[in-house]
Amino acid sequence: MSALIRSRSFRRGAFQIGFLALLIALIVAAALVGRANILSQGMATGFGFLEQTTGWTVGFSVIDVGPRSTYAHMLFVGILNTLAVGLLTLVLASLLGLVLALMRVSTNTPMQIVGGTYIELFRNVPLILQVLFWYALLTHTPSPRNAISFVDVAFFSNRGLTLPVPALSGLDVLILVAGLVVLAFAFRGLSKSFDLRQRILGAIAAFAALFLVLLLTGRAPEMPLISVPALKGLRFDGGFTLKPEFTALLIGLVLFGASYIGEITRGGLLSVDKGKLEAGAALGFNSSQINRFIRIPLAFRAMLPALANQYVWLMKGTTVGIVIGYPDYFAVVSTSINQSGQTLELLALLMIGFVIINYSIGFAMNVLNDRLKLKGRS
């Protein structure tokens, strides 16, 4: 018996079993207390509420929504809103971040100063404060009657940013997206016979042709080609209005995210071994060829893991939209908890939603990383 206790593997096993038992006991205890509390407060349990209508609605949505929508539909709206602002942020912040990084690594002193000041200013102030600031700024702009206009086609008012848009129906947009997917596959398939520049130009031309055909055929005869906003009473008619909530959150996230992505990108650019750039110069590459074939591909590989982390962070950062009333997934779940009282179920859905979104980003970046990493090295 004493030999058994002294045996190392027995102690290890017993310790782990004890740890697991304690963990399970804690979870069971929490579940029991939770059940008792929920029963004593007369709250309902289970996921049946997802089929019920909400009776309330949200101020911003990319798909149809109203007080008669079910909870399931409303949660879907929330996820789409999070993805809409989040994915747009990732694209725009990456572009701005790249510009900032190039400014900071250039030899041009005024550009370095502007890039460096921007990054220090925007990185060191909390995101939520920046979002509140932009929202206050946007909602203090004049009413539609006195809107700030750009050559009378785009208007900036306290209702948001109103822009002219091509008059396309929902079906047209769907066809365009499908066309884009087909083009993407064709783009890859043609890699043997055409070089990159030819393929990019071809893809742009094909997309523009598809766009024009849809614009000319898909509309009613008397409708204008482009829907231009015009003042009608107290609001704008036609065009497309970006709500101040969406715009403020997007501006805040992009400007904040770009300062971080800019630093990550700069780190990537600086990590490229100087000898490789000199080797390129010795082979007679000019500076744009060095950038395109040597520096940027190598920098991109080096910065990918940090970039993936930052993307996940920005996706999570969309939750601060609740302070200005942007109905993202968190805001919708929070309102649903207030309205339905299904706290535990909704919280579980909230966490599952974010875990799925962030694991997908991580997965996509890992796939990219595997495809890009230098072959022949472990």
């Binding site: 290890r12 310790f15 782990q16 740890f19 697991l20 963990l23 929490a30 579940a31 207390v33 939770g34 509390n37 929920i38 250039s106 030899t107 041009n108 002193t109 005024p110 550009m111 100063i113 502007v114 220090e120 200013l121 060191n124 102030v125 909390p126 995101l127 939520i128 404060l129 509140l132 600031f133 206050a136 700024l137 203090h140 082979l283 007679g284 996940v312 999570k316 950062g317 939750t319 601060v320 609740i322 302070v323 968190f330 929070s334 908890i337 706290t343 535990l344 919280l347 909230l350 966490m351 974010f354 875990v355 962030n358 694991y359 991580g362």
Partner: protein, 360 residues
């Protein structure tokens, strides 16, 4: 094919060459230089005119606010007590100030290499933190009791930040060692916990701590809302910090621990004397970065109803009296955060260069 042979570079120096290289190396560079120089001059002069030259500084002149082209800093003079102290009783503001200073002194002292030992650092933080809580709470030596519901403003921000740091760091060490444990059950469970916490937004964790945890805890364990939120925040911080410490532990060569084992050093001594000092030292820049992020993220507690510095600033803007001065108030808040965060990150940069020198 052989590329054409280029002439050897001409040796160049002097102010003229420096100017040419940094402003006009190509014609495109020259155009960009001029554009960005114009931008810099325009921004600096606009900020100067608006923020200083035409600004209104005192409440006596407040009628002029909103008419001129200058900033109205009178709002800060009028409401700085609300922004800095929140709902803390007016007569006791000196306590809040002293408490803040105690924690700031602790932060500054812990940046001094003299305190970087496994015992001095925790003791320093316990003393600084204890002073803070005693001063803020009071209830002895003639100081009236002020409960956490009345804490607010900058001192609440600093309290949350330091509490998260003090609770989260030991937790992070435990999590890091647990994840590296040779016992598979413990390593896997900890890994799952860390990964889930890292993929959730902080706001959802704080929300759960404030609203949901009371549902699954018996009454005697609930504590107050601030305490629960701080514990939730500390868990989130620990999940991130644990990965940083784990990276630091992995960077220690295996031979060191093997040497300790062969000297029959007890496990505790291996951890305290060999592994932790090096792990912390190797990861100081990332730790500072994490502290910076945590300081900025304390502003998120506003959303779940705490009156820290951002919420109190927002309350000033929310009143009709100063509603038009939102730019000034938000800039003042940004300035407060900027001072702390910029100081921390400069310190981190200094540390990085210092350590690079030390290691050759």
């Amino acid at each position: 094919m052989v590329a054409e042979t280029l002439p050897p570079p001409i040796a160049q120096s002097g102010i003229g060459h420096w100017f040419k290289k940094h402003f006009f190396s190509t014609w495109l560079d020259g155009v960009l230089s001029l554009i960005f120089l114009a931008l810099i001059i325009w921004v600096v002069s606009a900020v100067w005119t608006w923020g200083l030259r035409h600004a209104i500084w005192t409440v006596e002149n407040r009628e002029a606010c909103g008419h001129g082209s200058g900033a109205c800093w009178a709002v800060i003079q009028d409401r700085h007590r609300l922004i800095l102290f929140g709902l803390y009783p007016y007569e006791e503001h000196w306590r809040s100030t002293l408490a803040c200073l105690a924690v700031i002194a602790t932060m500054v002292l812990s940046c001094v290499p003299l305190f970087w030992t496994v015992w001095r650092l925790p003791i320093l933080w316990l003393v600084g933190f204890g002073t803070f809580v005693l001063l803020m709470r009071g209830g002895f030596a003639g100081m009236p009791l002020v409960t956490t519901e009345q804490w607010g403003g900058l001192s609440l921000t600093i309290f949350i930040f330091s509490a998260v740091f003090v609770l989260g760091t030991p937790l992070a060490v435990i999590l890091a060692f647990a994840r590296r444990s040779s016992l598979p059950v413990i390593a896997k469970t900890t890994g799952l916990f860390i990964d889930i916490f890292r993929s959730l937004p902080l706001l959802t964790i704080l929300f759960a701590a404030a609203v949901v945890v009371p549902l699954v805890l018996p009454d005697w364990l609930q504590g107050d809302k601030l305490g629960r939120v701080i514990i939730g925040f500390a868990l989130f911080f620990a999940a991130y910090q644990a990965e940083i410490i784990r990276a630091g532990l992995q960077s220690i060569p295996d031979g060191q621990v093997e040497a300790a084992v062969s000297l029959n050093m007890p496990f505790w001594s291996q951890v305290v004397d060999i592994q932790l000092p090096q792990a912390f030292r190797n990861t100081l820049p990332s730790t500072i970065n994490q502290a910076v992020i945590t300081f900025k993220e304390t502003s998120i507690v506003t959303i779940i109803g705490f009156f820290e510095v951002m919420a109190s600033g927002n309350a000033v803007v929310g009143t009709g009296e100063w509603g038009q001065q939102y730019v000034e108030v938000y800039l003042f808040l940004a300035f407060i955060y900027f001072v702390f965060v910029f100081g921390l990150s400069r310190y981190g940069a200094w540390l990085e260069t210092r350590m690079r020198v030390g290691h050759g």
